[in-house]
């Protein structure tokens, strides 16, 4: 993953200039990501082909054989497997992810219709996760070994141990059923976003807090921190401007990667709140055995995830010149 990028002493090459080694490493990284993508696409394709005869799903079990042969020909299923595979790959790279069996619509259109809802939820959740997780991690790192540290760390571990959808259900009981402060279910207004976003934030918040603690406690032990303190720089400024700036990269990485996971992995949270996002769409597709749609969502998830991985690498090389 992104941590595998080698660091080398900066003095050995001209500053800020791309050289052969840099290009080779970047090339290898892109090749590795493309290989991952190809594996995912192939798995999605194979699963699609193993899922049985789609003509039975479309026409029903009683349809005459001639009709099926006809439909198979129309869908291109009578061609050699390798031709179908190449055609499928071509479709993926031209944005054509096939058609849903249950909605009779292009899968791409449906994914794009649902995406804004999921984006809202993920943006809200990640914002909360960063706003709570980072200070919690910094607090734990600054007071390493104290009760503050233990409380913050346990809280973070608790966030990784709780089934998020259950946490969401309990929020509904407390704030929607008992107290009646906030709506549960449906979407639209900012008030509708509060509970789902809070639920969504729990897992990434815990991860961010744990990582921030680890990364900050390493940074705070560096000699330049002692030197900054000795120069009489205000403690808070030392923590945020000197230590946090250096500890930031792994945190940024996990934020971007978690966003990728949440974009397609928020099935249970969306289910609890009947949130009309991608996760609900995936669930509907599974329940109706609409395999082309499941496949399209898998492909979409894999694509965004690989792109976000690349984004992390790019940010990494911009922020930290040693990686270049």
């Amino acid at each position: 993953m992104n941590t595998s990028t080698q660091t080398r002493p900066a003095a050995t090459r001209p500053k800020g200039r791309l050289n052969a080694g840099t290009l080779r490493r970047a090339g290898a990284r892109v090749a590795a990501l493309l290989a991952s993508l190809l594996i995912a696409l192939s798995m999605a394709f194979l699963l699609g082909r193993l899922s049985g005869d789609p003509t039975a799903t479309i026409l029903g079990p009683m349809a005459p054989e001639e009709q099926r042969v006809q439909l198979r020909h129309e869908l291109g299923l009578d061609r050699p497997l390798i031709v179908q595979y190449l055609d499928y790959l071509k479709g993926v790279f031209t944005g054509d992810l096939g058609q849903s069996l249950q909605f009779y619509q292009p899968n791409t259109t449906m994914i794009m219709d649902r995406l804004p809802f999921t984006l809202q939820l993920v943006a809200g959740g990640m914002a909360l996760a960063v706003l709570i997780g980072v200070p919690l991690g910094v607090l734990a790192a600054r007071r390493e070994g104290t009760w503050w540290d233990r409380a913050a760390s346990t809280l973070a571990l608790l966030g990784q141990s709780v089934p998020v959808f259950w946490f969401g259900m309990m929020l509904v009981v407390l704030f929607a059923v008992k107290l009646g402060w906030l709506p549960a279910g449906q979407s639209g207004t900012p008030r509708h976003l509060v509970l789902p976003a809070l639920t969504m934030s729990v897992y990434p918040m815990a991860q961010i807090a744990r990582l921030t603690r680890a990364s900050m406690s390493e940074a705070l032990a560096e000699p330049y921190i002692d030197s900054a303190r000795a120069r009489g720089i205000a403690p808070l400024r030392v923590v945020w401007r000197h230590a946090f700036k250096n500890a930031m990269m792994p945190i940024l990485t996990i934020v971007v990667l978690q966003t990728g996971i949440l974009l397609s992995g928020a099935v249970a949270v969306e289910y609890v709140y009947s949130w009309p996002g991608l996760g609900q769409l995936a669930l509907q597709a599974i329940q109706f055995r609409d395999f082309p749609l499941v496949q399209a969502i898998v492909v979409f998830g894999a694509l965004t995830f690989v792109l976000l991985n690349l984004l992390v690498d790019v940010i990494h090389s911009i922020v930290d010149p040693r990686v270049r």
Partner: protein, 299 residues
């Protein structure tokens, strides 16, 4: 995914030994974490045999009774009843057995292939390592919960499919950690000595490298139990995990979801149990891992 910090685990054994006093404290903490876990497991497996649990079966005269400690509840149903008047405690205990078994088996099916591939990659290097590393990277660079959903939508939900999903989602983290640990072990003197003495590669791998990894593997397996329980409960909650009549804590949560406004306790206790169980398992796994990771032990 809770093990993100394990990325750079090394087992080079060059770290200074822990002072005896601190090591004893770690042992104690492992003991105190394992104790409640063992107690919970025994309780869940033994309680149904004692005949102390309320009778099974429906009772339409006593539906949605609150737990015994709340107003309107009765101690004949300590955790209340559901919409059919079935005892919640009894379901809770039955489901707990399934959840614990799935967690344990789910960890084994992920750790087994993960360890094997990691050790092979780390020991033999070369093209074996390259192929396995590409697979590890691919698995870690993809949102595999989607692939899991695709498999389930394809094969339908059943226990074998559930274990397949748990294996697929869990092997890579374990493979990565065991690979880097093996890389360190193979450079150590005793491996060189064994090779010089003419021991076969298979013998070195299985009789000497693997035993040296045992502690790390146990720790990884412990953490994997927590992950497996969380994945299982999410899938069962969505109706994609265990199949009725089998119930797990995840499927109890699903049945409690429609009752949230009238009988919140049906969903409350299984969720609380999952949280506490996974928290204890994670704490235990972390403690065990620190024990076997010299880099972390120093701190």
């Amino acid at each position: 995914m809770t093990q993100l910090e394990l990325e750079t685990t090394t087992g080079d054994g060059t770290a200074p030994a822990t002072p005896p006093r601190r090591r004893r404290r770690r042992r104690t903490s492992v003991f105190w974490l394992a104790l409640p876990l063992a107690a919970a497991a025994i309780l869940v497996f033994v309680l149904p045999l004692t005949g102390l649990l309320p009778e099974a079966g429906q009772n339409l005269d006593a539906t949605r009774r609150p737990p015994g400690f709340l107003a309107g509840g009765a101690w004949s149903h300590p955790l209340g009843t559901d919409k059919l008047g079935q005892d919640v405690l009894r379901q809770f205990v039955t489901a707990g057995r399934i959840t614990i078994v799935i967690g344990l088996v789910g960890a084994v099916v992920a750790i087994g292939p993960g360890t094997l591939l990691g050790v092979l990659a780390g020991y033999f290097r070369g093209w074996v390592d390259r192929v396995i590393s590409v697979l590890i990277d691919a698995q870690l660079a993809l949102p595999f919960i989607l692939i899991a959903l695709a498999i389930i939508s394809n094969r339908g939900s059943s226990l074998p499919v559930l274990f397949l999903v748990l294996a697929l989602t869990g092997w890579a983290v374990c493979a990565r950690v065991t690979r880097s640990a093996t890389l360190a072990i193979r450079e150590r003197q005793f491996v060189l000595g064994l090779r010089a003495a003419g021991a076969s590669e298979t013998r070195i791998v299985f009789r000497h490298v693997l035993p040296n990894l045992a502690g790390t593997i146990v720790a990884l397996g412990t953490l994997q139990v927590g992950t497996a329980i969380l994945i299982e409960s999410a899938l069962s909650f969505l109706g994609l995990g265990v199949v009725p009549p089998m119930i797990s804590w995840g499927s109890l949560l699903a049945s409690g979801q429609d009752e949230l406004s009238q009988a919140w306790w049906i969903a409350f206790f299984p969720g609380l149990a999952i949280t506490l169980l996974v928290l204890l398992v994670n704490l235990l796994g972390d403690a065990l891992l620190t024990h076997h990771d010299p880099r972390k032990r120093r701190r």
